[in-house]
Structures are given as C-alpha cells and as structure tokens.
Amino acid sequence: MTEAAVSRPATTTGTAIALSAVTKRFPGVLANDAITLDILPGEIHVLLGENGAGKSTLIAMLAGMQQPDAGTIAVHGRDVRIGSPRESLALGIGTVYQHVLLVPTLTVIENLMLGGAWWRRQDRGAALARFHELSATLGVAIEPDIPVGRLALGEQQQVEIMRALWRGERVLILDEPTSMLTPQGVADLGRVMQRLRDQGVAIVFITHKLREAYAFGNRVSVLRLGLLVGQLGPDELARLTEAEVTDAVIRLMFGASEGHTDDADALLGRGRRHHSSALRADAPPRIALHGVATEAAPGECALHAVDLAVRPGEILGVAGVDGNGQKHLAEVLAGQRRAAAGRVMIDGRDATAEGVAARRARGVRYVTDERLGEGTIAAFSVATNLVAKEIGRPPRWRHGITLWDRVHAHARESVRRHDVRTPSERTPIGRLSGGNIQKVLLARELDEDAGIVVYNKPTYGLDLHNNALARARIADGAARGLATVLISTELDELLALADRVAVMLGGRVVGVVDNGADAELAIGRLMTGAA
C-alpha cells in the first residue's frame, strides 16, 4: 500500500484498457482528476469509493456516455475515442448497470436480439447459438423463451451480463451489481465473474461492500473526490488478511488526513457540528421505532427489527449505501408506509396505525428525496405545491372552498422568505431548477407547526451554494428544537450535521455511532459490512 503502487506497471502490453491522465469536469465539480489506471485481462478489478468519488463518471466514459476533457483511453493498445454506447460495445466493452435495463415483457432471447441493425433480418438461430455459447461460458442455465419479467433479479442480471458480452467477451463493467441481489445471488454472480476472469475477460467491478471486494477482487483501486488515491495489487491482496485490507481501504476511502483544505470545508459546509443548545440528554424521544419491519416489493429493501429514537433538537444521521432500507425507514416514519411489525411511538403515544395526515397533524414532516417523483406535482403551480399537504384545512380553505387569494399570498410570502427563484408563484414548479424546487419543499415542510422532520438525501443533486443553504436550514431547524432524522449517503454531510449516526445495512440498523473523532472509521466499517 504505497504511492508507488498507484503508478503504472512497467509493462503495458496486454492491457485491456489503459487510462492515461483522464480528466472530466462538470460545472463546479472535478469528477475525475488525471486518473491513470490499467484494466488487465484475466483480472477482477474492484473500484471502490464513496458516493461522488468519481466511479460513475469513470464508467460513463468507458461506456461511451461521457467523453473525457483531457487524457486518453487506449483499448487493447490502441488510442480510441468512445463516442457512444454503441461504439463502446463495438470495442468489446460491455456495461451492466445497477438497475436492470431489460424489457420485462419480452423474452430472454428477444431482449438479447434487441439493438441489432433495423434493416437486418433477425436471425433467431444464430442468436440461440450465441446464447447457448454464453450460457456455457457463464455456467448458467436460463430458459431463453420466458419473459424476462418472470426471472428472479439475479437471473435478470445474468441476462444483462450476457447482453454486455453479446458482441465479444473482452471487457465487462459491473456497476454496483450486488446492491439488489440476495446473498445467494451475490455468490452466483461471484462464480460467474470468476469463470469469465479465468477465460481472460477483464472485469471492472464496482461495489460498496468491502467483503465482496476482498472475496472476488484481484486488484482494488480506490477513488476519492475524483482522484485515484491508492491501489492494492494481487500480491498485496494475497498477502494481507481481510481485516488488514479492510483497514487499508477504509483509510483510503474516508481518510481525512490528506486532501481538502479548511476553505474547502467551509464551502462545502463540512466541519464538526456545534451541538445545539436545544438538545437535552434527558428529554424523552419525540419519535421512536420499536422493532419495526416492513414488507418490500421486488427490488426494494425492507426494514427488519429497526429500533431508533430521536429527541427534540437532535439530529440523528442515517448512513448507509443507497438501497439498504433508507427509503422504507423514511416512509415508515412519515406514515406513508405501514409497519408490518413493531410500533411507531410519537411523544410516547402509539402512532403505528396513523397515516400521513394524522402524523402531519402531530408535527411530522418528510422531505422526500424524490422531489419530482412524489414531492411535487410538476404541472401544478409553485403556490399549489406549497400547500399540497394541507388541502382542505384552514386558513387557506373554508368549508372545503379553496381561497386562492390566500394560497397565492402565502406563496408570495414563502417565495420571498426562502429566496425561491421563480418568475411567479403561478409558474409550474416543474420549470424550476432542482435547488429551487428543494427550497419550495423545505418551505412546505419546515412550517411553524413542524416538530419532527425526516430528510431523505436533502442535498442530492444540488450545487454547492444550494447544498450549503439546505444544510444550514437543517441545522437551524434542529437548533429550534426539531427532532431531526437526516438520511444521507454523503458521509461528510452526516459528520457535519448529525449528533449521532445510525448505519443501515440490508434493512437493519447495524450500529449507532456518536459523532466524534473516530466516527468516520466506525461508520465506514459498519456501512461496508466490515464490522
């Protein structure tokens, strides 16, 4: 684990993909900063890093979705420009994304035959032959003529892998392939990856779970804030124990020793939180979960026996890789999802059976992460969206009649006070920027009757300025005495704001860490299932 390990190996012959000083900028973000990295055939190359470390950008460039601003990409020793996903496939680079991108009503073989030239006759015989060839390579047995929608998620992913390899088995990129899988599915995937590796395929495997990185990886590269900060080669991986690897990787992923300056911290709203005076250790919890479980639809992560309690003025952070039950947790707290087991207590009273409206009357507020999906109605005006959760209640309704003058006056006041940039309060909210939509949501939820606030990824997709504003509002709310649950995948954010941090993994709260000096490492261990 030395700096030397990062530099390029002496021989580059036989490299599947060679990235040289690849840089990619987005407005306000340096997503990839001069990354030099070799992907070798016959290796499972694990890419690790926090959300926003630059893994997705790197993959997007290999898949032809993005083009680098500087640096070169060489595939099999030849410098290439990967202008589109089609070109990427033609180069033998297949990418499998986290979420299944197959047509559920088409059969397996039909899905695989999609994407051929439109003028060419569909050759089912040849496709079937290729299908059986790949089935043998992967060591899987899937019926080619059943609709994809009827397959288990793990099997759907195997079909995705087949599609990625359809045009030639050279490079396979797997973007967080295990996040949706059962443990059995993960084991199957590991076997498939190892078979492909043994046949000389270069595999790039992105994961958040260090256990998988150790179990399947031949080489581990760690990205942080757009930089390649370290690499563990096959020798080191073979020599070190799992615990040693875990320690080394966590230090690289979250290590605070090098990197950003104090100025950058201030800009990002980083730095330790000054504990609010409103928080009293002896205060009874405002909201508490006791052994709460939920039922999940396919592809969702349900809760299992979750216990949590939040006191007034406290910010309870919830950390964890996306898709580990955070959504269900937020919805159970807000009353939007029924608890299949356990109890939800609000101010010491059983509120398990109460829905959104009743919880809202008790001061529960929920700032959803799906601002457009469920938080707002895009076609409705800013004004209507601001009152969407109080329809029919005074003072803006009287006997069920909408007092539009009051709705609009209220909206003008909110727009002014919360600095929402909108042409008018009657503008459809869908026309506003993400930052301004979030301001509207915060204005709606943080009204004077709010007492318990659940934030789900409140700064997701916001630029630096709006990010800092949103964080300031969360901190102000807690200082006013709000019991706050802050769900986030940004560890920085949690460390900056939270008093305690609960860590979720697989729908369980696997630990609660007091925000202090060693919180980062402790959270990192819990998040990655290493502890």
Binding site: G335, Q336, V356, G373, G375, T376, I377, K389, I391, T402
Partner: protein, 345 residues
C-alpha cells in the same frame, strides 16, 4: 409577446377547425357532393332554423351531462370509458320506474326520484371497475369498457323481460305520458334537462377549480404518487371519482328518458359516451369550453341527420368531421410544442 401568445392561442382552436372542414370538404367532393351545400345546410338546419336550434339544444342535454362526468374522471386521471353502459342502464331503469311512480306521486317528485335513481344506477355500475382499480390496480379502461358492454346487454334484457310493456308489439318500457315528462322551457320544445346539464357542467367546473375535493382529484390525476405522499387516500378518491362520473352519465340517461323519449325501446343505444370523449379532449377537460364544443357537435348531429335525408350524405359523416378535428388538433398541438421547445432552446 402577449399579443403573439393570444394569436397563437386563437390559432390553436381555429386552425384545426378550418383544416377539418377543408379536408372534410375534399371528402365530400370525392363522394360527389357539394361541400358548400352540405355545410350551409347543416348550419341552417342545426343552428339557424328555430326548430333545428331547439332540437340541437335538446340533444345537448345528455351530451353535456356525459361530458361533465368525463371531465371529473379524466381530470382525476381515471379513464372511465364505460359511460355508454352507465348511461343506458340508468336510462332504462329511470324510464321503467317513472310510469310506476307517477300513479301515486306528484310529477316533479317522480322526475326528481327518476334522476336520483339514474345517478345511483350509473354509480353502481362503475363500482366493479372502481374497486378493481383502487384495490389491485387493474386498468380501468379495459374493465369499464367491458362493464359497458355488460350494461348495454343487461339494459336490453331488462326491457325485454321484466320492464316490457305488454301493450306494445315492439319490446319497450311503459311510456311516460308527454305531460308528465320534464317540463318544457317557456314556449319551446326544449326540456328542463338542458338547465340541469348546464348547471352540472358549471358545478363540476367550479368543483374542480375552487374546492379542496376538486384539487385532491386533480392531484391524484396529475401525480398519484405525490397524492399518496401528501397523505391522500388514493383508493377512496378513485371510487368517489368513478361514482361521480358514472352518476353524471346516468343522469344524462334520465334526461333523455324522462325528457324526450318517455320510453326506451330495446333497439335504442345512441352510444353518446364515446362520441363525447373526443369533445372533452378538444376542450382540454375545461368545463366551460366543453359547453361550446358540445353545442357545436349537437348542431352537426342534428344538421347532419337532416342532411342525410335531404342530400344523401351519410349520417356518420359527422363522425368523420369530428375525427378530422381531433387529428388536426393533435397535429397543431404537436407543432405548437415544437415551436415552444425551439424558443426555449
């Protein structure tokens, strides 16, 4: 800028109508008829002649009640395409009930009960699609259409077996005497159903734009997940929407049964429901605009029926015109979208 927008707004309505009439005229030419003759005849018979105008107004009554029902449903994002079954079943039951009630109840009370029962029958016939949609998310387009066929068949059975008037040779319900039907307005042949219908459309419009209930329905229609997020009971609202929509369609049936016909014959099924659907789209689900479109369509229907007898242009040419109108509306809408997008970009 705003003047340009106003012109664009007017063009969005005028252009499709002009194009539809032009292409419709070409079709008439191809049929060997003089389009000018036809259009003039239709307008004279349906709008300009006093008798024709009264007939057009009378025809508007059931159409408007159906339109009101469709607006409620469509604005809530529920595609109640079962209005024909709801309409006919309600009409038959109202027609069969009224002659029985008139024997011992005053005329107005009989008519009132007839309308209420028709609304309830319509609403009841929407219950199956509504519950299937609310409970297990079955697509209401399919279920409401199927229930519509069942409703029409059941109405037929009702006329032929339990409600059949033995005094007549063709199967039909007992006849409500002309003087017991919906009262005429002033000295005209137009019955009071048109007042009920216009009131229903206006009330529906006010409900959708001015009340909490209407806003909730629109929220369910615009983004059901947001409605759920805001704590609305989407299932109950779905059932309420269906009941309201089908109830209004049922009242449309009562308007025809108790205002015009007095009896329903087994072979009577005007299929107004699916004719009104395009009008509601043309009006963009707007309550007041739909009154204009419905009247326009009623004029076309009445004038077209006369033209069929006099000029030999088939009756269903009116449908060709409505079809063309919808087509060109979509085309103009599309071009307008493109124009906006270009301006934004």
């Amino acid at each position: 800028m705003s003047a340009r927008e106003a012109i664009a707004g007017a063009l969005r309505v005028a252009l499709p109508i002009a194009l539809a009439l032009t292409v419709g005229g070409a079709v008439l030419l191809a049929l060997g008829k003089d389009p000018i003759d036809y259009y003039v005849f239709v307008v004279e018979r349906g709008l300009l002649s006093w008798a024709g105008f009264q007939e057009s107004l009378t025809r508007s009554a059931p159409l408007l009640l159906i339109a009101a029902g469709l607006i409620v449903a469509f604005r809530a994002g529920i595609w109640n395409l079962g209005v024909d079954g709801q309409f006919l079943l309600a009409a038959v039951i109202a027609a069969a009930l009224a002659p029985e009630l008139i024997a011992f109840l005053p005329g107005l009370l009989t008519l009132l009960i007839g309308f209420v029962v028709a609304a309830l029958v319509g609403a009841a016939w929407s219950l199956v699609p509504a519950l299937l949609k609310a409970r297990i998310g079955v697509n209401e387009i399919v279920t409401s259409l199927m229930m519509s066929f069942l409703g029409i068949s059941l109405a037929n059975v009702l006329i032929k077996i339990p409600f059949n008037d033995p005094a007549t040779t063709v199967p039909q319900t007992r006849t409500l005497a002309v003087e017991d039907r919906l009262p005429r307005l002033f000295d005209t042949t137009v019955h009071a159903g048109i007042v009920i219908a216009v009131a229903a459309v206006v009330l529906v419009h006010l409900m959708m734009t001015r009340t909490a209930f209407g806003l909730r329905l629109q929220m369910v229609g615009a983004n059901p997940r947001a409605a759920q997020h805001a704590g609305l009971d989407v299932g109950r609202l779905t059932v309420a929407t269906f009941a309201l929509s089908a109830g209004l369609a049922g009242m449309g049936g009562a308007a025809d049964a108790l205002g015009v016909l007095g009896t329903i014959r087994a072979d009577w099924d005007p299929g107004y429901g699916l004719l009104v659907v395009p009008l509601v789209f043309l009006a963009r689900f707007h309550g007041i605009a739909v009154i204009g479109f419905t009247l326009f369509f009623a004029v076309l229907m009445i004038g077209g029926e006369s033209a069929a007898r006099r000029l030999g242009v088939p009756n269903f040419f009116v449908l060709v015109l409505v079809g063309l109108l919808l087509l060109f509306l979509a085309v103009v809408e599309y071009l307008d979208q493109m124009r906006r997008r270009r301006r934004v970009a």
